[in-house]
Amino acid sequence: MKIKGTLALGAAVSALAFSTAHADTIRVGVIAPFSGPFALYGTQYQQAIETYQAQHGTSVGEHEIEFVFKDVGGPNPDQARALAQELLIREKVDYLAGFTFTPNALAVAPLIEQSQTPTVIFNAATSSINRESEFFLRTSYTLWQVSEPLADWAYDQGIRTAITTVADYGPGIDAENAFRAAFEEKGGEVMDSIRMPLSTTDFTPFLQSVRDAAPDAVFAFLPGGPPTFTYTKTYNENGLRDAGIRFLGTAETEESNLQALGDQAIGLTTAYHYSEAHDTDANREFLAALREDHPDAVANWAMVGAYDGVHLIYHMVEAAGSDGPAAVESALGLEWESPRGPLTMDPETRTVVQNVYIREVERNAETGMLENAEKGMIATVGDLGWDR
């Protein structure tokens, strides 16, 4: 009790001291998982923010920028809403950011609408989120944005028949619809669409059926971690690769799990917006700055989404300070060079317009590590799911 009292007093005093010393501090509340199975996301957001601040300082114009982190644990809309409320009312933040999971982002829409708080989504990839509030801005991607170009590209490569295998939940079904629509529009045939229960541990039956049907390619959408690991293993071991059935995916080979997949990942084809191996100066500078403080950090889409999100916040603070509507206005149409390539904040969908790259997993001859080597590029793709 005594300790608690002292702590509370300390907090009160420091809050008081704080508010008088830095009257012009803009606070940004970050809602993300920092514990549990998804803690990696929170860690990566934090590392990206620290990296950006190390490069660009903690102030922009006359404004000092401070980040406040809140742990939401996992996909938990009620908790996300409660944390947003706490951040807006008690912590008096001017901006919100983070959001790994779609339901968490959706849950705060009414709040930010009311408080007119610009909210930068670092991750959650369902198109419809941004329809819920004018104050949502997204620096990650949408599932349609990467799945459609992949289908187009596959058709252009001479792939005529495909089977889709997706995990049976919202994002998986989005990916299935996007791929199917684009592939059929081109004239390709989707022979079968298999929806695999989320709890699937053994993918052999699904992949054996695919093999027996012998399409040109198999499109997959799986949550990261164990399902991707087992799926790609089964893809190799049941001879789908040897039978010439091409693997087409999106986030499956993302960097934080890539090394664990091992040699079985070599040759997997994915369409995605960021590869750690992206060959530009902007990316090399970003990686160098990141590694300075976090030598073991792995740069992936979640990290670059946060990094670009911070860039966007800095821009909005510089342009409009704590004026929410003006800040969003200033962000629309903004163009900048990100580690992943050129970005534009689309004024209509408020999701970044970006290049989508066709990559193949290779082992880097110098480092001996697996990487997503970029083989092709589909330039400036917007959120194709917006009107669907």
Binding site: A39, M196, D202, T204, T230
Partner: protein, 286 residues
Amino acid sequence: MDLFLNIAVDGVAYGMILFMIAVGLSVTMGLMRVINLAHGGFALIGGALAHWLGREVGLPFWIAATLAIAGTVAIALPLERVLYRRIYGFGELQQVLATIGLTFLMIASVNLWQGSTLLAIDLPPALRAPVDLGFRTLPAHRLAVIALGLAVIAGLWLLLERTRFGIRLRAAVDNRATASAHGIDTGLIYMVTFALGAALAALGGIFGAELLPIDAYYPLRYMVLFLIVVAVGGMGSIAGSFAAALGLGVIETAARYLVPDLATLAFYGIVIALLAARPQGLMGRV
């Protein structure tokens, strides 16, 4: 015909992996009657050690796997002495709470040590190669797991039914006081059996990792699966667990081939129906 063969082959292979990951639990929970929710934790420790010894220390798979199992036992023995010895005497709810708490500790420790990403265990090339069955191919490690599962069930049957140790264990479990009065060192018997359960958990963790890859949250991710196998098999019956694992494996695989969208529903539906009809499990003693 091919479909039928596919279901049989994949079903048995999957069922055997279910058996391998659950057999340790059917020793500790089934035989020793301690609700050991930390079973997956021992599998996790075994898998994490095998990952570390293989990938970071650079030992060959078989040595890494052996050392990892030995390491898990080395952790399990003091835990048995200090913690489980008290847990045996608890009521059921207290056992659940104590062992789930232990599980969280194990998860947090592995998370701190190795992080929350996948901990891959590299198999030797011989186990990775596909084997031609005539009508299709099957990865060699699936065959190895089938062989290992058969060896484990045979070994356990011999140990429990045909050795003096087995007789003493069964006596100690059925009536500890009387067994003690007959001069059986029940404390030692319990410790050895618990170590056996932990070793089997680690073995299952390592060899099941091809299908159920190891990461820090492994114990929670697959806890329901372990418990289903033991519950459907029947408490106290290793053969029951074996039958349950194979049966459930074949049924779920068949459902995945025939009605992929409903596979999980079919699996749990059958589990519920089975347990409603036979609450004591397939071969459980009442």
